[in-house]
């Protein structure tokens, strides 16, 4: 299934957005500083109402590139 991904400011547990995304409030992935959250929903579904104004939509490949960055992934340990 193709999905639309979104990174935005974290949402409160009672946000209506959670009813329209694949994640739960307690399982969604946060940035390392805890201020941002990544959300996803089927690409065929409309964008959920109530997203913060800073929400940015991504494709799968695009969001993987963002999540590989230092805001989301700690520096690598020593690679083999």
């Amino acid at each position: 299934m193709k999905r639309t991904y979104c990174i935005c400011s974290d949402l409160p547990p009672d946000s209506p957005v959670w009813a329209h995304v694949a994640q739960r409030h307690d399982t969604a992935r946060r940035s390392l500083d805890g201020l941002q959250v990544v959300l996803k929903w089927p690409a065929t579904s409309p964008t959920p109402d109530g997203l913060p104004a800073d929400a940015v939509l991504y494709t799968h490949a695009e969001v993987l590139a963002v999540l590989a960055g230092p805001e989301w992934t700690p520096p690598d340990p020593e690679l083999p």
Partner: protein, 357 residues
């Protein structure tokens, strides 16, 4: 019957003038059932103009689709379904109907959610963003210093950095299979420290195929490990070095797929299947476990796994963590999917296409 691997261009070196040679073999993976997107064969090399006509044959590996098209194309297959696999052979004929050369196009209709996949084989697709499957209390380690074997099939779907495919840990100490598209490694964690085994390269030609890994963690005063890729030993005895030592707590040990319970946020982006754990060193049984890439039931082995998830059949309603998620065949320690919506289950039509490693 597994798909055969596409061959490379077939113009033989030093071939005499006038020889008809086919275009390079081609292949495609189609994401869902229905009509296959049409394709056209490349031109044959025909220096003397010997080709009079073409004849296409649908070689059905799995499925009941129908082929239509003529000449070099376009061709299409209709009436397909998830899990189907086809090979289409296009013969170039001379005026007498003799076959001058044959071009090949293979198609795998490999993706799409499958209900009731438990009996027919399946795998789970992870998106590399935030998905994992947890199996709390699932690993029956006999003691805190057990020797463990972890076996899994995987296939990466992106070129991103290393990721954690599967691991056993107690929340503090543990070991994992770490994979990238081009190499595999063992990764040990001891509290806040860690140790790598060193990476083993997967040849580029094999990186788009399913890979079998078997990692043995041999407990002891100086822990070592053994690694096998596609049935072949790539490391007979790696010392972890640095004074590395675990034990993993027998009472708290769990298996996790798709991400570590500890570590560096490396979510797995790809597919996994046939995950098994033995509470012993299974390196002597690698041939039977690998089984020449042929799908089989590990429970039929003389030493069956102590924990066995095969096929991985993600439950469709596990987003909220209340459903089983993935079924375990030995101790009914079903897993719980995290951030999955049920579409991650895929079939294994192309799981065992045979790379050479």
């Amino acid at each position: 019957m597994p798909l055969t691997r596409p061959t490379s261009a077939t113009s033989p070196p030093g071939a005499p003038a006038g020889v008809v040679t086919p275009p390079a073999a081609t292949s495609e993976a189609v994401a869902s059932g229905g009509s296959v997107t049409s394709w056209t064969f490349g031109a044959f090399t025909d220096p003397d103009g010997r080709i009079d006509s073409y004849s296409a044959t649908l070689v059905t590996v799995t499925g009941s689709g129908s082929l239509s098209g003529s000449g070099l194309g376009p061709y299409s297959i209709t009436g397909t379904a998830d899990g189907d696999a086809y090979t289409v052979e296009l013969d170039a004929l001379d005026s007498d109907g003799g076959v001058l050369a044959t071009a090949v196009h293979t198609i795998a209709i490999a993706l799409g959610a499958l209900p009731g996949d438990y009996e027919t084989g399946g795998a789970v697709s992870f998106d590399g963003v935030d998905q994992s499957i947890s199996f709390a209390g699932s690993v029956n380690i006999a003691s805190d210093t057990s020797t463990l074997t972890l076996s899994a099939w995987f296939r990466r779907t992106s070129n991103s950095d290393y990721q954690k495919l599967a691991g056993i840990d107690d929340g503090t100490n543990g070991f994992q299979l770490a994979v990238s598209r081009s190499w595999v490694s063992g990764f040990w964690r001891q509290g806040s420290g860690y140790a790598w085994t060193g990476g083993k390269t997967i040849p580029s030609a094999d990186q788009d195929f399913w890979i079998h890994l078997l990692l043995v963690s041999v407990a002891g005063a100086t822990p070592t490990c053994k690694m096998y890729i596609n049935g072949s030993s790539v490391a007979a005895s790696w010392s972890l070095g640095g004074g590395a030592s675990y034990p993993i707590s027998a009472s708290a040990a769990s298996l996790n797929l798709g991400s570590p319970r500890f570590g560096f946020n490396e979510y797995f982006d790809g597919r996994a299947a046939e995950v098994a754990v033995w509470n012993s060193d299974q390196s002597a049984n690698i041939a039977a476990i690998y089984n020449s890439r042929q799908r089989h039931d590990l429970m039929d082995l003389p030493s069956p796994p102590d924990v066995y998830y095969a096929p991985l059949s993600a439950n469709g309603d596990n987003t909220d963590g209340t459903a089983g998620g993935v079924y375990e065949l030995v101790g009914n320690n079903d897993g719980t999917g995290v951030n999955m919506d049920g579409s991650e289950r895929i079939n294994l039509a192309d799981a065992f296409a045979p790379p050479t490693l």
